[in-house]
Point group: C2
Chain length 345, copies 2
């Protein structure tokens, strides 16, 4: 947590912030964390992982995009840490890794101790839930880069996997099923478009179709698929796509070999109300929605047909949303049909 | 490098940027890097480190503060990556770690391909010089968070050390020497104060005492102490303080046990001209300068007295700048005397 000490925040606040963040981070730390507050880098022992034949570290970094502006407008700073951590965790979990530790970078116009504590507190809580140590972080006050009330937050996660475990259920093949898991909202992508369709003036409005306000629905935290990915892998899933920026069309082909293509059946699920609201309020075309948002599917698992029953038994919220076919052209992914609830919602 | 694909940049630029960044990152990668572009997390094998008894990962995150504003004003985007990487590398090197890999987070008002390529190109070049893989990164376009032309950049580094190697030269003790290594400028701290003392209108001005313009002097990259730290450790240095935000008074005590205090002899070095210029132009008191800037010393090594000659032979640019004494009060660090060139520069 050392780097909080050289944060450049107002001197009066800096010490109080450092102490509060140290206490917050301490709650996430097990015996593997060696360095105390005051060290220049956080130290994490791999002693407990000595049984791995060839340990492979898997790392990812991400932000939460302009979701920071929704949080700032609503004055809700406790959920963004869950967004940040869960986005990063999902990115390494789809590669088969278990999380080891996380670091956060937070830059603000003004490092208000309550705002900083809420933001980093959310990061720490999400880390704790995932069994991941919050090993360190940096809090920087940059009044000339960020507007009053403005800030940005980024995260960095490191996980571990044994090389022999990578791809142990085989490569995706023709006739494999695509099993989708529901998203918990927009997750952390598409907020620039969402904010154009649903501007701040709408955020206090209660929407019956959402069962909450527009702002609360936009701020719904990015969920973690850590446990589901583990269960799905044990049940036979071969590969996973985390549906982030670019939607299913950008993210699913990443895990497919060049000889297969994906067919996605829209009728197999109904996009949640927040997506219908964005499409209608912003006059966003359906295929544009699919290229920008997760439209209700936050994770896609590739499952051999003889493992489909086992997979759906292991993770009941999973639903078949498509299939792999032989690739015939440049096209790597095709949507067919219309969504189940289209026109009725 | 996957996460560059979900960067949210303008669609026309995104593909071009992704391809250019993938090529840039590829130059930094050795056999340990397993994941190809398109994976969700970068993969780094520890197979080559199997001989370590208890491998310990050391991680750090940092930004470059408002040095980003100097770079933007001068239109020079190639050096900030060196600042970012070297700051992070120094932070883990002082803990005894060798760098494994680095990830960058870049957020901009507008992801101009040339600016992004120059920024990440600098990151990659600094990584390559240090034998560190650029494993991944995220580029986010956030026009409502950053002002036109504005951006922020943060980095994350992971290194490795054998637990038995940590502190192998013993703990800092009374009578140990403090050996300082020159900084290459402001490094990455104190820019908010420096920009108040020397505002943008001065940056084009040629300053004879600097031998260059004010802007160029402010933008001088943060140097790496990686090789020097290794040589100093082999020669017997016990501990290192990387002098970042908070200067020597905040950073050196971090590595000292509670029973010792540091005495720093100002007469043992002369602060470079850029610090004198800031102090004079901004009417900044000497002790305030010492609390904000490195004032010419970027790294302090703690050296047992019987190893001083060996240390100075191994790293000739090192110079004794003080000594450890028995701690008598709350005071953990004291400056004595005046700088060598005071009043003559």
């Amino acid at each position: 947590m050392t780097t909080y000490a050289d944060s450049g925040v107002h001197l009066g606040d800096a010490r109080a912030i450092t102490d509060r963040l140290a206490a917050i981070a301490a709650r996430t730390r097990g015996a593997s964390v060696l360095a105390d507050v005051g060290a220049f880098g956080g130290m994490f022992s791999l002693g407990a992982w000595g049984q791995l034949k060839e340990p492979v570290l898997v790392a990812s970094t991400d932000g939460v995009g302009t979701k920071v502006m929704v949080a700032a407008a609503l004055g809700r700073y406790d959920t963004l840490g869950h967004d940040l951590v869960n986005h990063c965790l999902n990115d390494i979990a789809v590669q088969g890794a278990r999380p080891l530790f996380f670091l956060d970078y937070l830059a603000l116009h003004r490092a208000d101790p309550d705002v900083v504590t809420a933001l980093v507190g959310g990061v720490a809580e999400a880390c704790r839930l995932a069994g991941c140590a919050l090993l360190g972080g940096e809090t920087a006050e940059m009044p000339d880069v960020y507007a009053p009330g403005g800030f940005d937050i980024a995260g960095f996660v490191v996980g571990i996997v044994d090389r022999a475990e990578i791809g142990r259920n085989g490569e995706p093949e023709v006739e494999d099923f695509l099993v989708g898991l529901p998203s918990s909202g927009l997750h952390t992508n598409g907020y620039s478009l969402a904010r154009r369709a649903l501007p701040p003036v709408t955020w206090d409005r209660y929407e019956p179709s959402l069962g909450t306000t527009v702002g609360e629905a936009l701020l719904a935290p990015h969920r973690s698929y850590l446990d589901e990915i583990r269960s799905l892998t044990d049940a036979g899933a071969r590969a996973f796509a985390h549906i982030t920026g670019g939607g299913i069309p950008e993210n699913l082909p990443r895990v497919l070999s060049p000889t297969v293509a994906a067919v996605i059946h829209r009728h197999s699920w109904e996009p949640p109300a927040i997506f219908r609201l964005i499409a209608e309020a912003g006059a966003v075309a359906g295929d544009e929605m699919e290229r920008v948002f997760n439209v209700g599917i936050g994770l896609v698992a590739v499952v051999p047909s003889d493992r489909l029953d086992a997979v759906l038994a292991a993770v009941p919220e999973g639903q078949p949303i498509g299939r792999l076919v032989e690739r015939q052209s440049d096209e790597r992914l095709r949507f067919v049909g219309e969504h189940a609830g289209r026109g009725t919602g």
